[in-house]
């Protein structure tokens, strides 16, 4: 019986396998198995000190580590009743955007783009399209530089701790960076241009879309959770009530549902939820790319990531101007250790990320919970595959499987996150 598999799907973060059961040209079953081994993060934080949580959980994912660190910090601050300065909040937003620039550039150019030009990787483009590769590296470096500037290094930020930052960038360097951001705006717009030339299947996801949303900003660091279809808005602290996790037998990652439905998180849901808050340049880019702000096409996730890059550049330059003007301090506020429980969320490049902890009187962690974007997306991804596979099953085997891989990569999954 033809059981087709793509083992260790390439150009995604982590190890996953697609298995399709095809009979007489008909797709009987399809699944995405996450074979990435579990590292038991929720269990290993137990018994560690409260301030070690961000450091440990940042190691869930080396790709979006700034988000894990910050989400963990926010949860811990909620548990311990710590308020941080406005300046710290602005710096943290910059750190999240560092993560966006790094991740979106890597995913779009290194992981997704080769599909559209029929290549196994981006490396052959070095010969044929050096300008594209150079642009990709420039954007990625921009993200790395921003993360390093604010967090101390590109992966696993050092300076962000419960209460604030242990070190601040030199104002001259910050100023220079804002300059660079403005100079590279062109690269970002061209990225949207490049992706709008790639044709994507006409497809519509069946799940709901969840994202953070806030009144006054494109919500990536704070806000409430909104369900685009469900039409509701709920506080992050209630996430364990509205997200239901279930353990599967075929995968090391759990699946999630809201209101009994699968759902999607990520750039597309964010744009759906907050398109009004995008910068003007980003709104223009979205319009020029011909993507509607209420698209339900999963494949448009890539385009929305590109649009978020345009948004990020303008927004970060603004944040830097704000930092240079505002005064105040990011020095960690002192933390009075006490027993408590708290949750936090940020929008990671791949979608909403939740952490929550309980600590005892000595500040020792007694329980931890993490729900990552990919863990939320997996059920929806499988549901999408079930709908999408029959539409392409007529293609030659390799092309059929590649189409499925393409759908997987549209979600930009991070499997080591999903399992953690």
């Amino acid at each position: 019986m033809p059981l087709l598999t793509v083992e260790h799907v390439a150009r995604i973060e982590g190890h996953g396998t697609i298995t399709v059961d095809v009979h007489d040209g008909e797709v009987r079953d399809i699944s995405m198995d996450v074979v990435e081994p579990a590292r038991f993060f929720e269990s290993i934080v137990v018994g560690r000190r409260f301030d070690e949580a961000p450091l440990i959980t940042s190691r869930i994912c080396g790709i979006c580590s700034p988000n894990h660190a910050l989400t963990s910090i926010k949860a811990m601050e909620a548990a311990l009743g710590v308020d941080v300065s406005e300046r710290t909040r602005v710096m943290r937003k910059l750190l999240v955007y560092g993560s966006y620039l790094q991740n979106h550039a890597t995913h779009l150019y290194l992981f997704a783009a080769p599909d559209f030009v029929g290549l196994p990787s981006v490396f052959p483009l070095v010969e044929t399209h050096p300008e594209v590769v150079e642009r990709a590296l420039r954007i990625k470096k921009l993200g790395n530089d921003l993360t390093t500037l604010v967090g101390g290094r590109p992966v696993h930020p050092i300076t962000a701790v419960v209460g604030g930052f242990t070190s601040e960038p030199d104002p001259h360097v910050l100023e220079g960076f804002a300059e660079t951001l403005r100079e590279l705006a062109e690269d970002l717009t061209e990225t949207v241009g490049l992706f709008s030339t790639f044709e994507v299947p006409d497809f519509s996801t069946s799940g709901d879309m969840l994202a953070l949303s806030s009144e006054d900003d494109y919500a990536i660091y704070e806000g409430d959770v909104v369900a685009v279809d469900g039409g509701w808005r709920k506080p992050v602290s209630a996430y364990r009530d509205f997200i239901r996790e279930q353990v599967l037998t075929h995968s090391n990652a759990k699946h999630s549902m809201v209101d009994g439905r699968t759902f999607m998180v990520g750039a597309l849901p964010r744009v759906n939820a907050s398109s009004d808050s995008l910068t003007q340049q980003a709104k223009d880019a979205l319009r020029n790319a011909g993507v509607s702000a209420v698209s339900r096409n999963t494949f448009h996730n890539n385009m929305c990531q590109a649009v978020e890059l345009v948004d990020a550049a303008g927004r970060c330059a603004g944040y830097i101007d704000q930092l240079l003007e505002m005064g105040g301090s990011t020095a960690p506020v002192s933390v009075a250790v006490r027993a408590g429980e708290g949750a936090g969320a940020t929008e990671a490049p791949r979608g909403t990320l939740y952490h929550s902890y309980r600590v005892d009187d000595d500040g020792i962690i007694t329980a931890g919970d993490v729900i990552t974007p990919t863990a939320q997306n997996l059920a929806n991804l499988e549901a999408d595959m079930r709908v999408f596979a029959p539409t392409v099953v007529g293609l030659p085997r390799d092309e059929f499987l590649l189409s499925l891989e393409q759908l997987v990569r549209a979600y930009d999954p991070c499997l080591s996150c999903a399992v953690h």
């Binding site: 973060e13 590292r39 038991f40 190691r59 080396g62 080769p114 990787s121 070190s167 599967l248």
Partner: protein, 247 residues
């Protein structure tokens, strides 16, 4: 043609592999020197049967990992362990302390069988002999380039053997012990330019215990500054559960 290189990830957060892509300024130079034969993160394709250099990231947590490593050791002339997970077991090895089964149930609930063939997590270096190490969580791209250049030039691995304080002093940091905070720099392998400490954060020991560290003397230092041995051991265990660290 350059050396045939494969990049393999075991149980990890991919952070070190990401660091490999973070060599932006030199990525093209490096790619020009080697023949990158397999890298799941960056390219479609299958693991080849023959190659010269294997870069291994991540801790060993399953039987398949152990098998894979044995094969890698037989095939590759040079094996490089990159990152704390591979070098000392790092954060994933924390799960190896205490009741592994219990952790499994704590995360997945009782009675499910998801993670097949899992073993107590250990470093790559405790399963096979490696030729070069690039410690750190994550690795430093500069240090990686240096090691890679030694590999390509056929030179021996020369990781630092000393604790961090020397480098820390060259960066003119005020010692954390002077501020009443604990710092693991006194026992941790240097080579990172004391980056964390210079950014205001005490060393957490991600590079592993320095072979030349004087642990007995360090215990006295911790105690003299008000940190009981149990507390300092707990801190040291964050990245070093794999080694029997006795203070």
């Amino acid at each position: 043609m350059g050396a045939r290189v494969v990049v393999l990830g075991l149980a990890s957060d991919f952070g070190c592999q990401v660091q490999l892509t973070n060599i932006e300024d030199h990525l093209l130079d490096v790619l020009g020197l080697i023949d990158l034969s397999y890298w799941q993160l960056a390219s479609s394709g299958h693991m080849p049967d023959e190659y010269d250099v294997a870069l291994v990231e991540g801790a060993v947590t399953t039987d398949e990992h152990v098998e894979l490593l044995r094969k890698v050791r037989e095939t590759a002339a040079v094996v490089i362990a990159i990152g704390s997970c591979a070098v000392t077991g790092g954060i994933p090895a924390l799960a190896g302390t205490g009741d592994l089964e219990g952790r499994y149930e704590a995360v997945y609930g009782e009675g499910t069988d998801v993670a097949r063939g899992r073993t107590r997590p250990v470093a790559v270096t405790s399963v096979i002999e490696v030729d070069y190490i690039v410690p750190g969580c994550p690795i430093d791209t500069g240090e990686f380039l240096k090691v890679l250049s030694r590999v390509l030039g056929g030179l021996s691995d020369k990781p630092s053997e000393q604790p961090m304080c020397f480098a820390c002093k060259t960066r003119e940091n005020v010692c954390f012990f002077e501020k009443g905070e604990m710092c693991l720099g006194v026992v941790t392998r240097s080579g990172c330019h004391a980056r964390c400490i210079s950014l205001g954060r005490p060393c957490t020991g991600c590079r592993g215990i320095a072979p030349e560290a004087n642990l007995g003397a360090a215990r006295d230092v911790f105690e003299q500054h008000g940190f009981e041995t149990a507390r300092s051991l707990h801190a040291m265990n964050l990245y070093n559960t794999n080694e029997e660290v006795a203070l």
